[in-house]
């Protein structure tokens, strides 16, 4: 029975529960046991038991949730020592929506501190290991969520994406990750990193699971003024062909130096598959893509430096040095924040400070306008932009920690969509030297149904099998 449960996608599990072949208690106990025996350090907290009442269209299939979502009475530490032991008095809307739809909380997942990182090595609770190769990183910042799904410790998971933090770990772990249109999912109760960029979305074993999960995640929320009502219902995709679809490849970007040969080969193979399914593949330009990365690493730290001012030892979390008020603020933040978070707070404060504001933050905001315009121009003549999700497969633990800038370059292909607020999915496109490669499919705002549909057609044709990771005994 255990192997049978493990082999079910979340959609298949929902169906099995609906027709009586599987009970809610069985699936919860199964994944509770898997998550409890976690050897990947993917979880920071695991539920003892499912809540008594689980009804709804998600059938009781439990969900792993990134630690930065507030969950009432349950540790929510955002990967940071400054929030060690913090148990919030309320639950994030995204988590509440999933629970209301019948997906109980399985556990909280490890992450880069405050979602700042691309390897999950910036967690105060230790790095997460990639289930495909435990000497490698799972990507980040939603590394725990990606590893939990890829390693078969959770049927599906909730993550967040600010500059690629769902898509890149999905790519490195061989799972599906969807970054929504900005505003489609409420940010209420998400511990904020960069408020104009933060988006919550699913990490799942396949595209159909992502669609079902996402259907119950979206919605306008009176507690988040930037949230918007999704204009249509999210459909479970069924398309087998891509006839009439145009895919645009930003050739100059994809042909750049940092792209590994194995990643490029997998990407080329995906394009050939798309052509066989009837798609037209063209080339496009996003001339400011390299500047988008720079603009992002000004805007995100600037917003973070403001958002993270709330961690001061007064209302929650760590407190240090009570000799006077100022010493308490500064030493609490010194001891509570990790190195990368400090770097970003300092960069952001610098970029917003008198004398530098126009040169850095002001210009970065203008680059953002240019990037959004360039993407819109591509979408005027093509349905989707496609790229590899990450220029590389999963890298070794410790390989990039000494050089923050090399870590930032992991996000080259994911950042333009974050700045433009447009949706994008990463699906596995194959393996390179035994490690997963991701394909990114991006569309205009609110095109999630079309993205999911194209991703599904490609997924069926590619036939990626992740069971080597999720089917492994752990």
């Amino acid at each position: 029975m255990s192997d049978e449960i493990q082999s079910l996608s979340a959609v298949a599990a929902v169906a099995a529960i609906a027709d009586g072949g599987l009970s809610r208690e069985e699936i919860f106990a199964h994944y509770r046991s898997r998550a409890g025996a976690d050897e990947l350090n993917a979880f920071t907290w695991v539920a003892e038991q499912a809540p008594a009442q689980i009804e709804g269209p998600l059938g009781g299939v439990p969900v792993a949730v990134k630690d930065l979502f507030c969950t009432e009475g349950i540790p929510s530490q955002a990967g940071s020592k400054i929030l060690a032991g913090y148990r919030p008095p309320y639950t994030a809307t995204a988590v509440a929506n999933l629970e209301a739809a019948g997906a109980p909380l399985l556990g909280k997942t490890n992450q880069d501190e405050f979602a700042m990182g691309s390897s999950n090595e910036n967690s105060a609770y230790g790095p997460v290991l990639n289930p495909w190769d435990k000497t490698r990183v799972p990507g980040g910042s939603s590394g725990g969520s990606a590893a939990a799904v890829a390693g078969g410790l959770a049927p599906w998971a909730l993550g967040t994406d600010t500059g690629g933090s769902i898509r890149q770990p999905a790519s490195l772990c061989g799972v599906v990750g969807l970054k929504p249109t900005y505003g489609a999912v409420s940010r209420y109760g998400m511990i904020a990193f960069a408020s104009s960029l933060d988006s919550a979305g699913p990490l799942t074993r396949d595209v159909s699971d992502a669609a079902l999960f996402y259907r119950h995640l979206v919605g306008k929320d009176s507690a988040d003024a930037t949230s918007v009502a999704f204009p249509e219902s999210i459909e479970i995709p069924t398309a087998e062909r891509l006839d009439g679809i145009t895919l645009a490849v930003p050739t100059a970007l994809v042909d750049g130096d940092g792209v590994e040969p194995g990643v490029r080969a997998s990407f080329e193979a995906s394009l050939e598959t798309a052509r066989q399914l009837g798609a037209t593949v063209t080339s496009c330009e996003i001339p400011s893509a390299a500047h988008a990365l720079s603009a992002y690493y000004v805007i995100a730290p600037a917003e973070a430096s403001s958002n993270l001012s709330r961690f001061d030892g007064v209302r929650y979390g760590l407190r240090r040095d009570e000799s006077n008020l100022d010493a308490m603020y500064t030493e609490t933040r010194h001891d509570g924040f990790g190195d990368e978070v400090k770097r970003r707070i300092l960069i952001g404060t610098y970029a917003l400070s008198s004398g530098y504001y126009d040169a850095y933050y002001g210009r970065a905001q203008r680059v953002r306008t240019v990037v959004a315009k360039e993407l819109a121009e591509v979408f005027a003549g093509a349905d989707f932009i496609v790229t590899p999700t990450s220029p590389t497969v999963a890298f070794g633990l410790g390989a990039r920690t000494a050089d923050p800038l090399s870590m930032y370059l992991s996000d080259l292909f994911t950042i333009p969509m974050s700045l433009a607020g447009t949706p994008a999915i990463s699906i596995p496109s194959g393996l390179s030297e035994g490690l997963p490669v991701g394909l990114q499919i991006c569309g205009p705002a609110f095109s999630e149904n079309r993205i999911l549909s194209a991703a599904y057609a490609l997924e069926q044709a590619i036939g990626f099998n992740g069971s080597a990771a999720w089917g492994a005994k752990r």
Binding site: R87, P89, Y90, Y182, G183, S196, A225, T226, V228, A290, H291, S294, A295, Y297, V298, S305, S309, D312, G313, V314, R315, Y316, G317, L318, R319, E322, S323, N324, L325, D326, M328, Y329, T330, R333, H334, F337, K342, R343, I345, L346, I347, Y350, S353, A359, Y360, R363, A364, Q365, R366, V367, R368, T369, V370, A372, P404, L405, Y408, A420, G421, A445
Partner: protein
């Protein structure tokens, strides 16, 4: 690109203590990052409007009516120190 004095000024603005043995390495790391992102200074962006936020954002106010809020004891529960109905902090002047 960013020297020790400037770093200390920025750290002061951020209310972030930096200890003596952290200054040089932090200044060097920040300089590398700032040199990279400074590429945006070379772009001609004079005619481009800044984007602070994607999408239409307008004021969104709830009805001005009484609603339930967190009970005081629940809001205070995670605090490191409380007295009466408030968060307790050290004196600004010290003891």
């Amino acid at each position: 690109m960013i020297d020790r004095d400037e770093l200390l000024h920025v750290a002061r603005l951020a209310r972030l203590a930096l200890h003596e043995d952290e200054l040089d390495s932090t200044a060097a790391e920040l300089s590398t990052i700032l040199e990279h992102v400074a590429a945006i200074k070379e772009l001609d962006l004079d005619d481009v409007e800044p984007t602070a936020h994607i999408g239409d954002v307008s004021d969104s106010l709830r009805d001005d009516s009484v609603a339930t809020s967190l009970p005081v004891e629940v809001a205070l529960a995670p605090a490191p120190a409380v007295r009466d109905d408030g968060f307790l902090v050290p004196s600004p002047q010290g003891e």
